[in-house]
Symmetry: D2
Subunit: 415 residues, 4 copies
């Protein structure tokens, strides 16, 4: 169990920290103010120019596509990645993701945001040469965005066998039909492609029924029905959409890794992505705790600093203990992934998916409470952070499914 980052990762961590301190942190409050103003005028889905500026700066400093995985980055690390020419292990990337998670925009700035990272990984690991050339390269280049279309409004999507959308092979084409929601990424004007999951062969073995298909945003029959909000937030300019697909025809060559591979790809896609999500949440937790302490030591009531009232110090200690445990658990999952791949880390990855969002929800809730009404407003990043954490108790599988996975593996030890 060695969670130490490599020297290169340690050096990158320093550079990302510096970049965020000098470039991101100073402009982020303005960013949110400008975005709020854009909402008033209905232009919130047009990315603010500062994002492109920051992306260019990050890339110029060699802080670009840091998520590229050691094992699968191949030649792309040299062409589109950080100088050094190779990807990072999960243990190495973890502290970088934590740093990025401290900011709502940093993941975009470093071209490391969901769902693009997951989609890029899918193309790296399972895509054909042609698919990579058409979609992966512009994604790595930051020229286009992508969306991920899996969850459906009409069924309990935590059970993939409930999926109703179809992508049926018809000669050298695939015909895509269905309705998806929580299709993250579709709000962005640069979004040009969906990774779409649907049923290809309902009679096949349950792990061979589904396919993943690349569906161009511009294809006939694709319609974004509406954008969804999560407790009032829409996460512009990325956003979550409800999208209908009606007799959408794409070339058979757009199927990733061939028909029937959807389930296998989904399994492979999720391991590192969950590490990323969880480490970003750890970063949010640290921000929340820091804000709580700063607020609690700068305001007074009843003759004492807020931190010195009631159980506030205990809650600060509880937050520290929960965060440190959560981070260690994520590092452990990252290390297991690095050592043996996704199948060796099924329990560990499900564990972090339960633990971290719940810890984050609790720590941020406490930070909100210490901020009084201000904590519920957008004067602080806490309310949005809270909704983010709460959402992640559902996204990528609800708590209950992951607890079920952990229990199943635990029972198997003593069968």
């Amino acid at each position: 169990m060695d969670f130490s980052p490599s020297p290169r990762a340690a050096e990158l961590t320093d550079r990302v920290r510096d970049f965020m301190a000098s470039e991101v942190d100073p402009v982020e409050p303005d960013y949110h103010r400008d975005l709020a103003a854009a909402r008033e005028t209905g232009t919130q889905w047009t990315p603010l120019p500062v994002l492109e500026d920051l992306k260019a700066k990050a890339r110029a400093r060699g802080l670009w596509n840091l998520f590229l995985p050691k094992e699968h980055a191949g030649p792309y690390a040299a062409r589109f990645g950080t100088d050094g020419g190779e990807g990072l292990s999960n243990v190495d990337y973890a502290p970088l993701a934590e740093l990025m998670g401290r900011s709502a925009i940093a993941p975009i700035v470093f071209n490391c945001n969901a769902p693009d990272t997951g989609n890029m990984e899918v193309l790296l690991r399972y895509g054909s040469e042609a698919q990579r050339q058409e979609w992966l390269e512009p994604l790595l280049d930051g020229r286009i965005r992508s969306a991920f279309a899996m969850t459906e409004p009409d069924v309990a999507s935590s059970d993939a066998t409930n999926m109703e959308a179809t992508c049926l092979v018809d000669g050298d084409e695939v015909v895509v039909n269905g309705r998806k929601w929580w299709t993250t990424g579709v709000g962005h004007p640069d979004c040009q492609v969906f990774v779409f999951m649907g049923v290809t062969d309902a009679d096949a073995d349950r792990h061979r029924r589904h396919s993943m298909v690349l569906v161009p945003r511009a294809a006939a029959g694709v319609k974004v029905e509406r954008m969804l909000s999560t407790m009032g937030y829409q996460d512009e300019p990325i956003g979550h959409g409800e999208v209908s697909f009606t007799d959408v025809r794409v070339p058979l060559a757009n199927v990733i890794s061939g028909p029937g591979q959807g389930f296998a790809i989904a399994q492979g896609r999720l391991g590192p992505g969950r590490i990323h999500h969880c480490m970003r949440l750890i970063g949010l937790c640290e921000v929340a705790l820091e804000l709580a302490i700063r607020r609690g030591t700068s305001r007074t009531a009843f003759g004492k600093r807020l931190v010195d009232l009631g159980g506030n110090r205990e809650r600060i200690a509880d937050a520290r203990m929960a965060i440190d445990q959560a981070r260690l658990l994520v590092l452990n999952a990252a290390w297991k992934l690095d050592q043996g791949g996704p199948l060796s880390a099924l329990s560990e990855v499900s564990q972090i998916k339960v633990v971290v969002p719940n810890v984050a929800q609790q720590v941020i809730d406490f930070a909100i409470q210490l901020h009084g009404g201000g904590g519920m407003s957008d004067d602080f990043p806490l309310a949005m952070a809270y909704v983010n954490a709460r959402t992640l108790r559902l996204a990528d599988g609800p708590d209950e499914v992951h607890r079920g996975m952990v229990a199943r593996l635990e029972l198997a030890k003593h069968a």
Copy 2:
């Protein structure tokens, strides 16, 4: 300990239930859809016409100003209240408030919404004849709305002695200065008056420093700086504003009950108001639990209904037990208030203020989880209900202050 409603209250409960089933429930989904559309066009602060229609219907059926308190309603119950000509006890009003709380608009429909109810109570109990004529009567008539301006952005407002805003007596005028936020009600175009709390005499005894002053919305020097959101919601058309008061001059006669009475009025204002808030939240809890069960019995995953998976049935049981306990605790506080007035129920009122919002937060969180991503969206009333519950852990005093009150009284028993 007799929590049974009077026959008249039982009969009113039936009538309110019927009215909601036949008039409110059928139009509420459309209401929220229309409000969302209004947000797109920037007209969300103009109340939708259906609200006035419903108000007229409710009043025509004699379901109007049901909150009017037995002890203080005086002649107003006969003139503006429900037929019968008298107000209700807290125990009698409690089940009515629970019913209204099931809907986001019902409290407005019955002219029983915060902060107007609290402001009307203040005028009933402490207002002069002239103040009542000018402000209370149109409020009871539903012609105008009011706002309550107490919390301040720059200090920990949970400690009233931190208050910085002033209302200084200058001859036969009062000069109002300061900045308030979370001034609920100010978003409504009919809002014509603030109940404003400020410091009149900083050197007086700490319970005699403050005054409450009626400040017309149109007075020179009043400026609504911005509307605030709570986790992305703005609670249109009532809303919460940040308001600056700059050398606002109002007649000395606008001071309620005379200078220095602010603290005493605040104490008297809050008892029944907290009963109302808490019973409305109980209503929300029942809605959330019902929705959770309906969703959980109508969707399946892994071959079972959602309610039959994992710990969901236990959580349903936990919700039922928590709600029933919370309701009994509120009824107990209402009964104590009825028996002996606010000073006899200090612990009980603080208890419910802690317990009920926390129970609601937990029950609604569970209902969201059973709804998957949909629970976070506005397709169900859960996300907004959650934010409502969360906000009430801060509004009217944070959990911590109320726990402190309960503990203080508990220690005093064994001093």
Copy 3:
């Protein structure tokens, strides 16, 4: 919902409170010291003489068999009960049980201890005249004790259909076989009879399989294999035994209410008994909270009273809120039982069976913590109280079974 005790119950409550203050409280510390000494010499199963003295005093004051239920007490209330000649409702008895629960010996002193009360109720409600004469009268008279034999060591006894013990009809006899444990009451030298539950007809409908049989302690084939401890405590002189029954023959007339009635009797037996258990635990909670406050205000660390350190005040408030809610819930269940009988209060009785022991475990745990190491010792009644509360999360059905019942009834509302 009227939880007010009748005037007679209020008066009895005062008299029990006085009796406990003047007679029980002064001798209880000595009682525990003497019992500890008796353990050293192996005589702990011989009841200390003070118990009989107190019983005589209580009876002389008319505080005897207070548990006798209004509806079923019949002529026994006049002959063996408290002056007044009739039993009490559940709402009336509840505050008496709370008072008795403050002491480990008071329930015995007032002849109101489990399992004798439950067994007496069974005989009152379902026993034949002969059974009552032989067993009920001496029990009411305090001359003998009884035990209840239901749980079995080899199966999950939370599911009655798992029961393996048998009581087979053989002509005019019943042949009893099986092994029981947690047979409470068997440690007492005056224990002369078991209420034994077993399978009479394995092929009958699942609610008609079992019978309850009166088995004399002295019958051939009855053997107390050992006494059990709960976290080190044996609850002398009542105790919990593991008992084997080998070809024990008793007259057919010893079957209560006839063969096949066991399940129905068990259902009827448990409602009031659970009210009693829960109200006694509420009494323990109040003792624990009072001790916590007394300790916390009399000892200092780091320059402050213990109660003023960290989150201790919040925990005191939490305890008060939890206890008050729990008590209201029990009163509500008692009131429902009084209004409509056990079948009308299935959810309510299961609710309290979950809520109260969990609250008690938590409140007592806090009180132990405030007492430091002393709280774990027998210098205070807290450690034993804790084990008592913990045990009641299992006895009379584990939490999980009761949560299941509450959930089932909740789902049925929306089926």
Copy 4:
């Protein structure tokens, strides 16, 4: 952050695991049965012969004094320790302590039980050559036992400045007076020495007031007043005593590291000891979870295995997640201690002292619940394990003190 054990530690872990499987596990049930029988005859304080047999076997296999710390073991590792001739780091010893913690007797078998390990460490780090020769060598040799006398019955001992016991220098003697309780180890007939902490100079700086003195068990004026129980358990043959010291005179040379060094020694003593305690509790957690799963998969109710009922699988998952996080947190604290010594790991050591006993209490509580009544009895090691975990929320500083330490260090980061 490298938590990997050294090759030698990994090999020792295998050997300890094998030894426990082949030598300890097979005899432990008999051990507890024999101890229970000894209690019946009042001989429970005489260690059962099997303990000495096991000690001899463990020593013969080179599994002896494994706790010896790398940095302070000096020549004693070669003389009394495991072959290899040097002590282990905290990270290396951690998995060994976890294994030992699975058994109630294993720590004694390997001469690694508290409080002897802590006392031996004190002598290793701070003792004079003469003190080591007289007390350390026979302790390392397993010929004698020791006790630790710090906590006092009359004050809140969580604050060392409350300490009332004295050890005053009088010429070349020290005069020891005071009353201590929770003096662990004093029950053992081989206990020959106390490490006693008292006030030497009440006027000195608060960190220089106390001394630690070696007081022979046989010294005049030492009296074991009584043995204490924790929820009914006495932890024979080690035990916890209340001990009075009346004008006990010992040579000045018995003061460890000189007068006034008591506080410094206490600080140094506790770091590794807390690692040991916590890792042993982790071992207990694993045993409890394993027992819960075995019971839950082998018994059925309502047609399902217990593990498949209600929320049991979720609780199994929660237990696994809590245990894994707790273990990682302890390893992290061990690693910090190894890297920078106690002062660099203040927060980490306090963190584990809060987290691990609370996790253990919760996991074992769940395991008890799955065992029904049996879980509360001594038929399974769960009840005793629970009391052990609960006690450790108080011993070596209550949760509250450690949370306070974590909070203080957290606030200091942002001061």
